[in-house]
Amino acid sequence: MTTGTTRTTDATPAMDPLPVTDATRWWLPRAELDRLVALLRADGRTVVGPAFEDGVVVYREIGSAAELPAGVTDEQRPGRYRARVSTDDAHTFGFAASPTSWKRWTFPPSVELGVARREGDQLRFETPTREVPPVAFLGARACDLAAIAIQDRVLLGGPVADADYRARRSGTLTIGVDCATPSGTCFCTSMGTGPEVVTGHDLALTELDDGFVVRVGTTTGRDLVDRLALSSADASQVEAARAVPDRARAAITRQVDTNGLSERLIANPEHPRWAEVAERCLACTSCTMVCPTCFCTSVSQVSDLDATSATSTREWDSCFTLGFGAVAGGNFRTRRQDRYRQWLTHKFGTWVEQFGSMGCVGCGRCVTWCPVGIDIRDELAAIAGPPPAPAIGTSLPIAAAHPGEYVVATVGSVTPETPDTWTLSLHDVDAAIRAGQPGQFMMVALPGFSAAPISISRYRPDGIDLTIRAAGPATTALTRLRPGSQLGLRGPLGRGWPVELADDRDVLIVAGGLGLPPLRPLIERVLADRGRYRTVRLVIGARTPDDLVLRPDIERWQARTDLDIGVTVDRAGSDWTGPVGVVTQLFDRTAIDPVRTIAYVCGPERMMQAASRTLAGMGMLPDRIYVSMERHMECGVGLCGHCQMGRFFVCRDGPVFSRAELGDTFDLEGI
């Protein structure tokens, strides 16, 4: 007997590598459905399918076809689900979407990412080997197969693939079922995902009264048909099967107008309906958790009592929690309406530019399982008004992330910058990290602490510098490291400053507070090859003289004659002889040539907004103004969802963006 699990060895099996086009229809008598289950199990697969438990159809491991929910039908509407066993209808798949989705197996709610160990002075970061038993999904609807395809694009299709998801998907076999019984919350026909299984299946079944008409989608599915020795379906069976999805299609009456929907939705960030729906919304996270495509996660640390090892675990999270967009010292989405807008505009708007389709398959789970019955079909209709839709930004940038795994580096020296900020000079740094670009950042880890995103503040031949403000426990612990201490590094990550665009131009570099360290590699790159550029201007601001960081460098730059430099502070005592005021006051209107200049701006968001406005007012084009955004970052590679800002993952698509790319989102509250 062959195993039929050839896909388990394939590294990139987003879909079966060997899809087949086969018009043959086979016949599986109802009584023989269990032979299929038994065959899958004999091949060593865990069979997951629907079962009727406590009045609800859930997906769980199935031992035999007898456990399937024969005769169960359901009724769903916003905020309400009821299922019952019908006496006059013994269909196995006579219900609509389950509160469970298949992502529970492909993208489980909790995954161990690794263990960080401390042995004396040595650190070790261990990644688990991912051995996942192959799973067969029995009874996946077309909408659910579309959801799996979407998660494939998100988690496998980007510049960085998720290792755990890849391992799980490589062992997945899918047996789809044409939907015959949509519920009141279904709208797959609007999203173009159902009710008929068209793609993403190894086998597809259409349920009739006495059995199933079977279609083959892949060589794996054909192998199953061969081994079951199925006979061909007869003409009447084929005809009856064809009518099933047609009836389902007709039963779905509520539609979503997807024509231009993304643009129409994004064009209405200030619509009053956002605040109205936020009064009803409990921000309970249910919609995102039951959604088969939502993929946001957070990592937590569990330390042992010895404090010698810590296990990192990734769990499902949600953009609806208050802390999801929080960073040390602030939160970008404090209002519930900000978070509702983030979710809906991501699903139906920015997802398109990120991943090539909307993030919704019309399964209706978020509508049914909202405890207060908020219906996104109503919200979309109310908020996404008619065109016109202004284009925001330009094309999505090319991501340049190199995730790797944590590598260990050693602290060479620790230099105080301000009372709460230090610069760590690291030695024994991996060559790939030293080859990073100005403006890129590292995820920096200590056992037991959340990893912190830190911009590289200097590239040296033998290492890098990180300038870190003690803003929370993790960064505090980092700033307390001593020479010889080890730490974990992952990166360099993100897209840095586009230095190459400055060739033969005037260069304006604007730094506010801790915005200077991420700019220093850029400044040093420019000064190292000074002849390539025309005028170079450097404007540095800080709250007070004591808050100025990298002072030895500032003094060195002030001593140069091939560089204009101005340093200003918001407040100062009598010992400060320089200018007092905001950085924009140092923009010399007569000296800055708006056509010839390229500007690189880094600092607090309000300062970057003000600087961009002033420069735009002087005639600079938005694609010549670059800023570096701060957001909550966890994975660093665009997979955990925390750092989203409109259509961007700041960690992967940024942190450096042109003002043109950011478009209107730059000045929007709660984005």
Binding site: D54, G55, V56, V58, G79, R80, Y81, R82, P99, T100, R104, P109, E279, R280, C281, L282, A283, C284, T285, S286, M289, V290, S298, S300, Q301, V302, S303, D304, L305, D306, A307, A310, E315, W316, D317, S318, T321, L322, G323, G325, A326, A328, R336, T368, C370, P371, V372, G373, P447, G448, F449, S450, G472, P473, A474, T476, A477, R480, H632, H642
Partner: protein, 299 residues
């Protein structure tokens, strides 16, 4: 999960390591259940003993100590003036003070007394005038600075271990503050509101219990208290849409964490705990009880 950081704990850096931390466990007005949860850690409690010196734990040992304590775990709420005084003295003898349980963090079930003391006391005590208690029962944080709090009735042993290990490492404990709903979904518990029409306070309530009640088909009754963004009005409107009246919500809220600010406001707005006798002093409850299907306490 995302809300890990919202705990009001001071940053404990550098880590509290050797010599072993001295730990005290004390109680005010409470049932001792949270102390039992600590004892219920079993073998892990023995491991704790190698890293922490438990010098005061009346529920476990007759060896007592007045401190000072590096870490003091306080169970119970403040019901008498004597307790308030004792608590202030404990604070002075403690490095970190962490409240454990619904009583210490929200007032507990006994805080319901704040709505109807004068009316209830005679039904419990033959000589109510002999009772020397404060007019309201209040959480510890109303009296002294609290560095961190563990919610729940009782607390979750795992959260206590997380607190202690976090102190050892020198980081903030990761105590989730989002809704119970997130925990239900992660463990695979089907929503009891949507599937069965059960009133459930999960959307208002901080997770951390492991979503126990919904797993047994019951609605959450908020023993962990309000979450980071508790939309009480939103839930009330949602329940009303299911034919559940305001009194149902007020009754469910009138339990272990009723005295927490958002829940207390919601209960007050609905005329106080349903079925409670009102007292003349309670001007806010002038509208009287809204429901008659709850037995009067002590009746």
């Amino acid at each position: 999960m995302a809300g890990h950081a919202s705990l009001p704990i001071v940053d404990v850096t550098p880590p509290l390591t050797a010599p072993p931390l001295s730990v005290g466990v004390v109680k005010l007005a409470s049932c001792d259940g949270c102390q039992l949860a600590l004892l219920g850690l079993g073998p892990l409690l023995l491991d704790l003993g190698t890293h922490f010196r438990i010098i005061e734990f009346g529920e476990a040992s007759s060896d007592r100590s007045d401190g000072p304590y590096d870490l003091l775990l306080v169970e119970g709420s403040v019901s008498t003036d004597e307790q308030a005084h004792h608590l202030r003295s404990l604070r002075e003898r403690s490095g970190l003070l962490v409240t454990i349980g619904a009583c210490a963090t929200s007032g507990g079930i006994q805080a319901l007394r704040g709505w109807a003391r004068d009316a209830v006391a005679p039904s419990v005590y033959p000589e109510p005038t002999w009772v020397d208690a404060l007019p309201t029962v209040t959480p510890v944080a109303d009296h002294v600075r609290v560095d961190a709090e563990l919610r729940g009735c009782p607390i979750d042993g795992g959260q206590l271990v997380e607190l202690l290990t976090a102190l050892r490492v020198g980081r903030r404990p990761q105590l989730p503050d989002e809704a119970v709903c997130a925990a239900c979904k992660r463990v695979g518990t089907v929503c009891v509101v949507v599937a069965h029409g059960e009133p459930c306070l999960g959307p208002l309530t901080r997770t951390g219990c492991g979503a126990i009640c919904p797993a047994w088909g019951r609605g959450c009754y908020a023993c962990f208290g309000p979450r980071e963004d508790a939309n009480v009005a939103g839930l009330a409107a949602g329940l009303a849409g299911r034919g559940l009246d305001d009194a149902t919500l007020a009754r469910r809220l009138s339990l272990f964490t009723a005295w927490s600010a958002p829940f207390r406001a919601a209960i007050d707005a609905r005329g106080g705990p349903p079925g409670f006798p009102t007292t003349s002093a309670d001007a806010t409850h002038a509208s009287g009880p809204r429901a008659t299907d709850v037995p009067t306490p002590g009746a």
